[in-house]
Symmetry: C2
Subunit: 351 residues, 2 copies
Amino acid sequence: MAWENELNDRKKNILKSIIDVYIQSAQPVGSRTIARKHDLGLGSATIRNEMADLEELGYITQPHTSAGRVPSDKGYRFYVDHLMQAYQLAQEEILQIRQAMEDRVEELNQLFKKACSIISSFTGYPTIVMSPQLSGTLIKSVQVVAIDDKHLLVVLVVEGGIVRNKMVRHNEMVDEGSLVRLTNVLNTRLAGKKLCNATVPLAADLTIVTHLPETLLTLVLDAVQECIRRIENIDVYLDGVTNLLNFPEFSDLLKAREVLELLHGQDVINTLVKRALNERKLQVRIGSENEIDPLKELSVVTTVYGHEGRSTGAISIIGPTRMTYGKVVSSILYIKELIDKEIMRIFDEEE
Amino acid sequence: MAWENELNDRKKNILKSIIDVYIQSAQPVGSRTIARKHDLGLGSATIRNEMADLEELGYITQPHTSAGRVPSDKGYRFYVDHLMQAYQLAQEEILQIRQAMEDRVEELNQLFKKACSIISSFTGYPTIVMSPQLSGTLIKSVQVVAIDDKHLLVVLVVEGGIVRNKMVRHNEMVDEGSLVRLTNVLNTRLAGKKLCNATVPLAADLTIVTHLPETLLTLVLDAVQECIRRIENIDVYLDGVTNLLNFPEFSDLLKAREVLELLHGQDVINTLVKRALNERKLQVRIGSENEIDPLKELSVVTTVYGHEGRSTGAISIIGPTRMTYGKVVSSILYIKELIDKEIMRIFDEEE
DNA sequence: TGTTAGCACTCTCCACTGTTGAGTGCTAAC
DNA sequence: GTTAGCACTCAACAGTGGAGAGTGCTAACA
């Protein structure tokens, strides 16, 4: 893009300094502050001139005539793309995250819940972790088990050891043999299929093979369908929302409430998931780059985890545009790695 | 108690009026307001005198000399115990709640989640619903199912059709017969036992009966134990927290944050559950009657649902002490009824 | 030609002030 | 026992002025 070169090195340095300071202080940054704190070898007057230029170019703005400067969305964008230092996670921090994640996770869902809470407490921003979209995953097995003479339990297992079940209540006589036949038929029809391609057979088609009444078969098949639905369902974990109230940009209660409500609702998730899963790489959406209205004053950092195609989900960190991009990006990527490894481990254990 | 008679009818009426108005307005209530709005047939001066008495007795307080009066915790307590009108849910409102609850709930957990969201949106206060404590519930059945030649699935079913499962990965040869024997042994040992009394047998004791290697048995038995743990685990549903930000008493961001964090944490739940399950009837804890510090400026209305002994849980509604007690109490009781019926239905279906 | 010191200017923030209005307590009259 | 009337109190609000932070511009300097 043309405007990538409109800044000389000095301007870039000044812009970086302004943003670095502003991220810390949340206060408009004056020329004196930059001149003193950062050894650019320049006087405040010079910096004032440069700042005037930067403002004209749209990288920073002035809340009012005699205030310092505040970065604009364009400023942050440039900062994220060209200026920001990669934040090197300290050994100690890596250890901290690792340790928190290391308690053996019994279930995949616990993994996401935990990851969510760790990121949010580590970065200090609200975090959303979405459980993977499993439509592309293969069905491993369907089991129909008799619990007592009035209840059958339908169990669906897919790759990765993910299990859903549903109880079926009935009034028929069911012998062990029929159940085995039913389980076998279901497995021939469904096992190895992708969840999204799996079509549950018609009850009528199974009466002969299984020697079971159609009413019962319907119940069971509905239960299978329900298990598929449940397993395809995306869970959402949300943690650290109250952190938002720490930031001065949310001293306006009305705004705070609006955003908190948004985060608890379903809309964000839909939008975020859709977008995230399209572009697979790390994304940083700054302020007005976000589509949803209340997010237009926030930034959202999102990445996708998991195996392409079979089980991908998304992690998003949400904060004021003045967020510590460096640290956030490093943490999210590091956690993504850990999750990927864990998923790999769970899936590989299957072989 | 002695002080129940220290108020004559006129004082009671005035106190009731003050609280009714204050609940609506959140503003200190003056004598003129009461004199005009409520046809007590009294002038403002008279009311002033009575208010002075009420203040001396501790039912109301004055934020500062020339302000109106604000109810004290003692005032609210008297209001709840003696003055409050039972709020009659309108036919329309009943319909509204009924309809929302009526979508067939597939799983017990969905029932609680739904109930939680309904109450909070109906009353406008944050609501906590705790899934039942199931320690007293009877184990119906344990199943060990082969998923493939390296995985077994352990399934635990208790009364009410509640199911938990855990996958076990192993490297042994397992024939169908051994599995049946294992399942049988486990059922003899565990079925019919209360969850809290269930003691998983030792692996060593089962090697002979089942013809299975001890290592495998250990894995399976651990899985059974884990299923028990999971089923005893109490889930917590929380909804409508952001509503708190609507109330002027939370314009102080620091306080708001403190309470929001408290609600998201585990502590409240522990305390609330313990207390709720002890006293079984409806409880209203007003302000300082609460034990947890940040709740001392809030009121908590709690009730217990479910069958005594086998599956009881709690519902709590949290709001400013200035909450609409009448409506809240009616709604919580109504929802409790609905949940009780639903639980009854699910448990009875078993017979 | 680029840099900087100096200065006048602007604007927010804060503390102070006086005014308004709501509400009280007390007293005296009904 | 009730109430009208009055003096008093206090929060809330708007206006005022100084302090401080920061700017833009200009002129001098390297």
